[in-house]
């Protein structure tokens, strides 16, 4: 069952690549949060109670509720819904993301020798998620889209850290810190400040400084 959740998590990235409505991206973030919680449940047996509680709070509260709710609020306030002028047509976005995901599966299964408790599936999906997210950040023009790209990348990293949670729970806790960092700083301060100053959240406004 854990594998099914991981595959579902990988498929959410394809949906991300093929849509431009920010509201559906936020809904998908909720979905990713729940999936990460379900995947995390499988490592609870090996962890201390405190670590398990920490993981639950992180995945269910921070990832599933707080961050998407915050993004939704920002979205409402800025009245922006569709990501304007994506650089590449959706079909190609979907195609490239699928290829990256496929490459993730293939590389993880046939090329590298897995160590520790890492299953190739965990590794492949996590890496494909990180790469797709980084790529999506570069082609999107809206700050909220960029932030969502960053959060999905962070979700991918979290998935990777979950795979070694049994041996080193401290790493997962470090990953949680990264989440808090985004929630507090990037969302809380900068998105609001940028919106106030520029009355818009298009990245093209932020291109004054150059040589």
């Amino acid at each position: 069952m854990e594998k099914a959740f991981i595959i579902l998590f990988g498929l959410t990235m394809l949906y991300f690549a093929s849509t431009s409505r920010i509201i559906s991206h936020i809904r998908l973030l909720v979905g990713q949060g729940i999936l990460l919680f379900l995947i995390a449940c499988y490592s609870f047996g090996h962890l201390s109670l405190l670590d398990s509680m920490f993981l639950t709070a992180e995945t269910l509260i921070a990832k599933t509720i707080i961050i998407p709710w915050f993004l939704y609020k920002v979205l409402r306030r800025t009245r922006s819904n569709r990501d304007v002028s994506p650089t590449i047509p959706h079909f190609y976005c979907l195609l490239i993301s699928s290829l990256v995901l496929l490459a993730g599966f293939l590389v993880a299964n046939y090329w590298i020798t897995p160590l520790k408790m890492i299953s190739p599936l965990h590794f492949g999906v996590a890496f494909a998620t990180i790469i797709i997210s980084l790529w999506l950040i570069t082609i999107k023009h809206h700050i909220i889209s960029n932030v969502i790209g960053f959060i999905t990348m962070e979700n991918g990293i979290f998935l990777l850290s979950l795979s070694i949670a049994k041996e080193m729970p401290i790493l997962v806790n470090l990953g949680v810190l990264l989440d808090v960092f985004i929630a507090v700083y990037i969302l809380g301060l900068f998105v609001n400040v940028i919106n106030k100053e520029f009355n818009d959240l298009d990245v093209s406004h932020l291109s004054e400084l150059k040589d």
Partner: protein, 475 residues
């Protein structure tokens, strides 16, 4: 002493929050600078410092700590003159002092930490605290710079975290991020995963260090932040990230996978110098020019580390020389900005007429940074070039010298154009008014820094020489 250096800033922040007094804020900032320096002297020059489980001094970080502490103290002194010219509410100035202290505290923690996880968290903390300082002027450009800084560095930090996870995978049975434990067992690590981990960590921490091609935040952040903060960013923050890279490189060295690590560092180093040479040629903003120069010097550090051998001594010397010279350069750029109220190179002429002392500091800082003998940077760059020739890397050597020459020409052109020439009539009035803003605090730190750079080029006192030699062995 480690406790004092880490706790004193926290106490001063609390006291500042309680007393809420303008003079007291400044006093505490000065006290932080001086206490930090005294503690550092104790930590560096006495051997009886009790290391805690997560923080400690060793041969490698001593020199970094000394540089941070010394530059911080002088920046704080400069700040005494600089803060007087702020026309801002007291609350905002207090936040500035707060954040400066937290910024330096997180850098100190990064340098002292003996655990990769703690270093990673504290590098993240430097981003948090310095982003506010970059955004301090609250202009549109400052927001843009701060946003790019936070976003790029966050991605860097996230990638570095992937590197840490991969490093943990490569260690097989060792579940610790303590540097000493990692060094002890490094020979048993899986080379494939270790190489992958190094790539991610180099890109992650390299983003913070300002290595090309992930340097895009650096010119924006350095040019938009207040000048004392630019000096701290360039002279100390970049070093902190470099220390983490050095420590990871050491793991690679012990695990015998240095060829790969050296190649990566060499490529990034040369790309950094190349990027600087390309951009500095048509630069329009003098603070951005200094920022690009930082990218260049970080590139030289990466190249020196990659070359190894005698070049390691050059790296340590370059680290010291660059931090001192660049701090002086950025602080002087603060004086220029106060005088002319613009960062555009085109709008500035006749600095020597406007203010002779600033003009001299401006030119001397340039000479120090462009490795004019007897600058310490001359010695370090000379050793690197000699190392390349001894290793028969002639092509690398030619490219290195050529790129450095282009950079020196680009910078020299700007510095001379700004320093000499006639002062236009409209600027004369402005400069007359603004000259009174420059107090003695805004000259003395740079004089000390420049004097040191030029003296250390010919004479390194034995106590410092010992620290440098230990650092070379510890690298």
């Amino acid at each position: 002493m480690i406790a004092t250096i880490l706790i004193f800033p926290l106490i001063s922040i609390i006291l500042m929050a309680i007393f809420k007094n303008k003079k007291f804020d400044n006093l505490m900032l000065n006290a932080c600078g001086i206490v930090h320096f005294i503690c550092t002297l104790f930590l560096v020059f006495t051997n009886n410092c009790a290391n805690t489980s997560y923080f400690g001094v060793d041969d490698t970080n001593k020199i970094f700590l000394l540089i941070l502490s010394f530059v911080f103290m002088l920046v704080v002194f400069y700040n005494n003159g600089y803060v007087k010219n702020f026309k801002l509410p007291q609350e905002q100035i207090r936040n500035y002092c707060f954040m400066t202290i937290i910024f330096v505290l997180s850098m100190t923690g990064t340098l002292l930490s003996t655990n990769l996880g703690i270093s990673w968290i504290l590098i993240e903390a430097t981003t948090l605290s310095s982003a506010y300082l970059i955004y301090f002027n609250k202009t549109k450009n400052a927001i843009e710079a701060a946003w790019k800084y936070v976003f790029i560095c966050s991605i860097g930090i996230a990638l570095a975290f992937v590197g840490i996870i991969l490093l943990n995978i490569s260690t097989e049975s060792i579940n610790s991020l303590n540097f000493n434990v990692l060094y002890t067992h490094a020979a048993t690590f899986n080379p494939f995963w270790l190489k992958l981990a190094f790539t991610f960590m180099l890109f992650g921490f390299g983003a913070k260090m300002g290595l090309a091609p992930i340097h895009f935040w650096l010119p924006d952040a350095h040019s938009e932040s207040p000048s004392p903060i630019s000096a701290l960013l360039s002279a100390t923050l970049l070093n902190s990230a470099f220390l983490v890279i050095i420590r990871i490189f050491k793991i690679m060295e012990i695990a015998h996978v240095t060829d790969y690590a050296r190649l990566m560092l060499l490529i990034m180093g040369f790309v950094s110098i190349f990027v600087t040479a390309v951009f500095i040629y048509h630069i329009k903003n003098y603070k951005r020019m200094l920022a690009y120069s930082s990218i260049e010097n970080m590139g030289i550090l990466a190249i020196g580390t990659a070359l190894g051998g005698s070049a390691i001594l050059a790296v340590v010397l370059h680290l010291i020389g660059h931090s001192l010279a660049k701090a002086s350069f950025f602080l002087t750029s603060g004086n220029v900005l106060e005088l002319f109220e613009t960062k555009r190179i085109k709008s500035i002429k006749g600095l020597s007429i406007a203010d002779g002392k600033t003009a001299w500091l401006w030119i001397l800082s340039f000479l120090a940074i462009c490795a004019f003998p007897t600058s310490l940077l001359f010695v370090s760059e000379f050793i690197i070039i000699k190392n390349m020739i001894m290793n028969e890397q002639y092509i690398l050597c030619v490219i290195f010298v050529l790129l450095l020459t282009i950079i020196i020409y680009g910078m020299g052109k700007v510095v001379m154009k700004m320093a000499y020439g006639e002062l236009s009539e409209d600027k004369k009035e402005l400069v007359e008014l603004n000259r009174e803003k420059l107090s003695a605090w805004m000259y003395i730190p740079q004089i000390i820094l420049i004097l040191l750079v030029f003296i250390l080029g010919v004479y390194i006192p034995p106590f410092l020489s010992e620290i440098i030699n230990k650092a070379v062995i510890g690298f």
